[in-house]
Each structure stands twice: as structure tokens, then as C-alpha cells.
């Protein structure tokens, strides 16, 4: 239906004083997809999202959202794009349902407010003022406000930060339903499992650039591949195992009695290893195949030090 992407960012640069928050970032997001933007704190995620939302002007590069300029065409874009800020955005004295109802009134064909309130469990907020709601309730209200106008595209900045597991599930379900009905979703998150669960595409941002992008499967493929683990008696002679393993494979004993085999993974490898175990009279306990997770990829790319 639409061949042009929902979001197209090319060479985006954004500086705050001497600090360069975004440094030549490229990102293309296809319509109807869920994209997770991952990155350490300060990587430039929020700045990028807020530039797409029209809150910031690029210092260099171009940003197109639904084919339009977020600053120059703001009036045309605002009804079509749903926005969930990382925090705030609600009158401190407002009650959750009345704020949502008001937001709905600014749109021509809003969702049914009562159904949305029930779905996100906002009915229990009652007459409590926004500033006294729990962090999770505030998050869910902000999410509801982002989708109530039936947008084509929603930007969710850390939608599940501070949510309990139930609320997190409810948010995931909503994102899946949005995708099912053709809404493009762009979300930032620190939860890598969230990206694995929800995202068609992942963009890993660090130092103001996208340093890796693709589907979760594409990102997890390659690199050190996967590995096979088993437990047995300590001090087995791995020399005889190496003789039967394919070239380039490595078997190690990282801790006594715990073994790790790194090699291109397949049923043959499994058969080779278990046959070897049988030949030396060892029962391989807790035999597991570990695939590279998104977390492994993320830490490999962005480093392990705290920042």
C-alpha cells in the first residue's frame, strides 16, 4: 500500500552545546512494523525519537516521518503520530480517566475511552491526581494517550520502564494488537527480552549512531555462533574429543566438571559429542544448546563497562 517508509532518518546530527548527542545517525523504519531502538544510557535514543516527533531541530541530516518534515509539517503530522514521552505530559492535578477523555476529544475518531481504560487497568486510578499515581499507572496513562487518537505511527519512549510484570505483559499485548491492525510502532527500551518479544527489527544505537540493525534473528546469527554445554566428572581428557570434532571447533572446561563445545551447531555435532561421551563412559548431565541471545550481541557491540 505504502512503499515509502514510515520513518527515514539520514545523517542526523544533534548537538547540545559542546556535546554531540547524535552523530550521523541513519535509520529507516518500514510501515506496519515494530522497531525497537536499543542502546546504553546517553546513546542518543531519546534525542533521535524526539527529533522524529518534531521537538528538536536537526543540526544536520534529514528526518522524514510519513514522508513529511516533523518541524515544517508539524500541523499535518500531529494528528497522525502518537507520542508517549519518557515521563510527564499530564496536568499534575488531572485524574487519569479525565485526562485520557480530554486527549480523545482533540481527535476526530478516537478509540473508545472506556475500553482502553479497562484494557490498561486505569479504572482503578479513580479520583487520584496524576502526581500521586504510581509510576506504573503514570506510564500506562501515557501509553493510552499515545494511542487514543488512532494514529498511523506511535513513538513509545521506554514504555515499560518501571512496570510490574502484569502491566508489562498488558503493554506488550497492546503493541502486538497495534501491529496486527497496521500501526507502525517505534519503541525504545532497556529490556532486551522486550525487543526479542516484540520487535520485527532492532536498531542498536551507541555513541549517536546505529551500530547494528536487523531482525533479532539476523543480529544473533554470526559472530561466535552458539555453543553446547554439559556437565560430567572433572578432568576429562578433551584431546580425544578434539580428534573427532570438526576442524576449528574448540572444547574447553571453563570450570571443573563443566564443559563447553564451540563449533558450528547441528545435529551432527550433538551426535559426535554424545558418541564421544558414550565411548568414555560418561553421562552428559544438563546437556544444553545455547544460542547467542540479543543480550550477548548487545554487550559485544556496546561493551560491558558501566556508563
Amino acid at each position: 500500500m505504502h512503499s515509502e517508509p514510515a520513518v527515514e532518518v539520514t545523517g542526523l546530527v544533534k548537538r547540545y552545546g559542546p556535546k554531540t548527542a547524535v552523530d550521523g545517525l541513519d535509520l529507516t523504519i518500514a510501515r506496519g512494523t515494530v522497531t525497537a531502538v536499543l542502546g546504553p544510557n546517553g546513546a542518543g535514543k531519546t534525542t533521535t525519537i524526539e527529533t522524529c516527533e518534531g521537538f528538536r531541530r536537526p543540526d544536520a541530516g534529514t528526518v522524514r516521518v510519513l514522508g513529511l518534515d516533523p518541524v515544517a509539517d508539524a500541523a499535518a503530522l500531529r494528528p497522525r503520530v502518537g507520542v508517549m514521552l519518557q515521563s510527564g505530559g499530564v496536568y499534575p492535578g488531572a485524574r487519569a480517566v479525565e485526562m485520557l477523555r480530554h486527549t480523545a476529544k482533540l481527535h476526530a475518531h478516537p478509540l473508545d475511552v472506556d475500553a482502553l481504560v479497562e484494557r490498561l487497568g486505569l479504572g482503578s486510578c479513580g479520583r487520584t491526581a496524576y502526581r500521586r499515581l504510581s509510576g506504573g499507572q503514570q506510564q500506562r496513562l501515557a501509553l493510552a494517550m499515545a494511542v487514543v487518537g488512532r494514529p498511523e505511527l506511535v513513538f513509545l519512549d521506554e514504555p515499560t520502564a518501571g512496570l510490574d510484570p502484569q502491566a508489562r505483559r498488558a503493554t506488550w499485548e497492546l503493541v502486538r494488537d497495534l501491529r496486527r491492525d497496521g500501526v507502525t510502532v517505534v519503541l525504545t527500551t532497556h529490556h532486551l527480552d522486550e525487543a526479542e518479544q516484540l520487535a520485527d527489527r532492532v536498531a542498536i544505537v551507541d555513541g549517536g549512531k546505529v551500530i547494528a540493525g536487523g531482525s533479532v534473528e539476523e543480529l544473533c546469527r554470526g559472530g561466535s555462533e552458539s555453543s553446547l554445554h554439559f556437565d560430567g566428572p572433572a578432568g576429562l581428557d578433551l584431546g580425544s574429543l578434539h580428534k573427532v570434532l570438526p576442524d576449528g571447533a574448540a572444547a574447553t572446561e571453563p570450570s571443573p566438571g563443566s564443559y563447553r563445545v564451540e563449533a558450528p551447531l547441528g545435529p551432527e555435532l550433538l551426535a559426535t559429542v554424545t558418541a564421544w561421551c558414550a565411548s568414555v563412559g560418561v553421562m552428559p548431565e544438563r546437556l544444553t544448546v545455547r544460542r547467542r541471545s540479543l543480550e550477548d550481541v548487545f554487550l559485544e557491540l556496546t561493551g560491558r563497562e558501566l556508563r
Partner: protein
């Protein structure tokens, strides 16, 4: 089952304006400190100073004939300046203005709604003060048109200054400064203390304050039955032009 299938669109602008004005007014009337400032203080001052002979009033008629115009001016200042500055400052601080900037509501419509909210509140204040003053024997003179012109220009002048403060200072600084200015102008702006009681040297300066122009103009009309108080309207117009102009130039939305 709910469908989330996109069906975007802004509501008609008239409906947005009405909804935003009603919402802002509801938020304002729910706020206890705000009500103290806009309703309780002017009312108490009116009743107290009409009944008790602690301030020297000037001009013809009863005490209330001097006091009522001053407290109408105070009511305008409390809502258009102090209340609006504090509320808008905190809306800015809590990202309300930023989030509304991403909604279909245009910015001009947000500011128009804020003005509408101020005018609705002032209408309630003026009605309440007028009823109480009439109960205290107030006999207003002059033309309602001149009164309306003063109230509208006064609102514009104070709104500009309030928005300038809210859009440039931190919320806490706005809270402190708006209250301080309120008290200073209450005392030195001819609201309850006639300007003629101040030293002659400072009177010409005090007369140029927006609150002095508003209370003096209202008193000219309502107490003395004067026609259009052009000089006071001129002062208010100048403040409105400067305040709104600077606010438009320097207001920061987040």
C-alpha cells in the same frame, strides 16, 4: 474486539478550543491555592476594609465605592498574572506543554484556551465581588463599556507578563516571584492604599505600574463616573504589547 486500525484526524478546531478551555478551567478551579488567591483574598480584603476603618480611602461615596474597583483590579491580576504564571510554569515543568505540542491542538489554540480560562474565571470573580460589594452598599457609576475595556486590556497586560515569567523561569522561581510581585503590587498599586498616600517622588513611577493603571482607571469610571480613561488604557496597552511581545519571543515550551 477493539480495532486499532489507524483512523487519524484532528477534531474540529472549535471543539478542541472548547474542550481545552473547559479542561483548563476545571484544573484551575480544582486547585486550592489558586482559589485562595483568586477568590478568597480579594473577597476578604473587600469585606474587611469596607467594614473596618484601617485604610484611608479617597474620593466620593462610601468606603466600598473606593475599595470595589481596586479589588476588581486585584482579581484580574491574581488570575491573569499570578495564577496563570504559576499554573503555566508547572505545566511546562511537568512536560504538559511539550506533550500538548505533539497533540492536534495548535499552539495558538492552547494560548487562546488559556485566555478563555482566565476570562471565565474573571467573570466568576467579578460577579462574586460585585454581588458582595452591592450588598455592602456599593453604587457603581460610569459606563460598563469603559469597565469592560479596562478589564480586557488589564487581562492582556497581566497575561503577557505572567506567560513571560512562566516561559522563561524555573517553575519554583515563578512560584516565588509571582507571589512576591502579587503582594508588592497589592500594596503599592493603589488597590487598597491610595497612591496619594505615597511620597510624591515615587507616585509618578507607581502610576505607570499596570495594577495602578487598572485600579486607577476602574476607580475613575466606577467611583467618579468618568468617561473612557484613555491614559490608563494607554499604559495597559503598552504593558500588554511589551509583555505579550516578549513572551512570544522568549517563551520556552520545555
Amino acid at each position: 474486539m477493539t480495532t486499532y486500525e489507524p483512523r487519524p484526524g484532528a477534531a474540529p478546531v472549535g471543539r478542541m478550543l472548547l474542550a481545552q478551555t473547559a479542561f483548563e478551567t476545571r484544573m484551575l478551579l480544582r486547585n486550592g491555592e489558586q482559589l485562595l488567591l483568586t477568590v478568597v483574598i480579594p473577597t476578604v480584603l473587600l469585606v474587611l476594609f469596607s467594614a473596618v476603618d484601617v485604610v484611608d480611602v479617597t474620593g466620593p461615596g462610601k468606603r466600598v465605592d473606593f475599595l470595589a474597583p481596586g479589588l476588581l483590579a486585584l482579581a484580574v491580576m491574581s488570575t491573569a498574572f499570578t495564577g496563570q504564571a504559576i499554573a503555566t510554569g508547572f505545566e511546562r515543568r511537568y512536560g504538559v506543554l511539550k506533550r500538548l505540542g505533539a497533540s492536534p491542538l495548535p499552539r495558538w489554540a492552547l494560548l487562546t484556551a488559556k485566555t478563555g480560562c482566565v476570562l471565565v474565571t474573571e467573570l466568576l470573580q467579578v460577579t462574586l465581588l460585585a454581588v458582595i460589594a452591592l450588598g455592602l452598599g456599593w453604587s457603581p457609576q460610569g459606563s460598563p463599556l469603559a469597565v469592560a475595556a479596562l478589564l480586557v486590556l488589564g487581562t492582556a497586560a497581566f497575561s503577557g507578563l505572567g506567560l513571560l515569567m512562566a516561559g522563561t523561569l524555573k517553575a519554583e522561581a515563578t512560584l516565588a516571584a509571582a507571589n512576591l510581585v502579587f503582594v508588592l503590587l497589592l500594596l503599592a498599586g493603589g488597590v487598597v492604599v491610595p497612591l496619594s498616600k505615597f511620597p510624591a517622588a515615587v507616585q509618578p513611577v507607581l502610576e505607570l505600574l499596570p495594577i495602578s493603571a487598572l485600579s486607577d482607571g476602574l476607580r475613575d469610571v466606577l467611583q467618579n463616573g468618568a468617561g473612557m480613561p484613555w491614559a490608563d488604557l494607554g499604559i495597559l496597552g503598552a504593558w500588554a504589547a511589551v509583555g505579550l511581545g516578549l513572551a512570544a519571543r522568549f517563551f520556552r515550551w520545555e
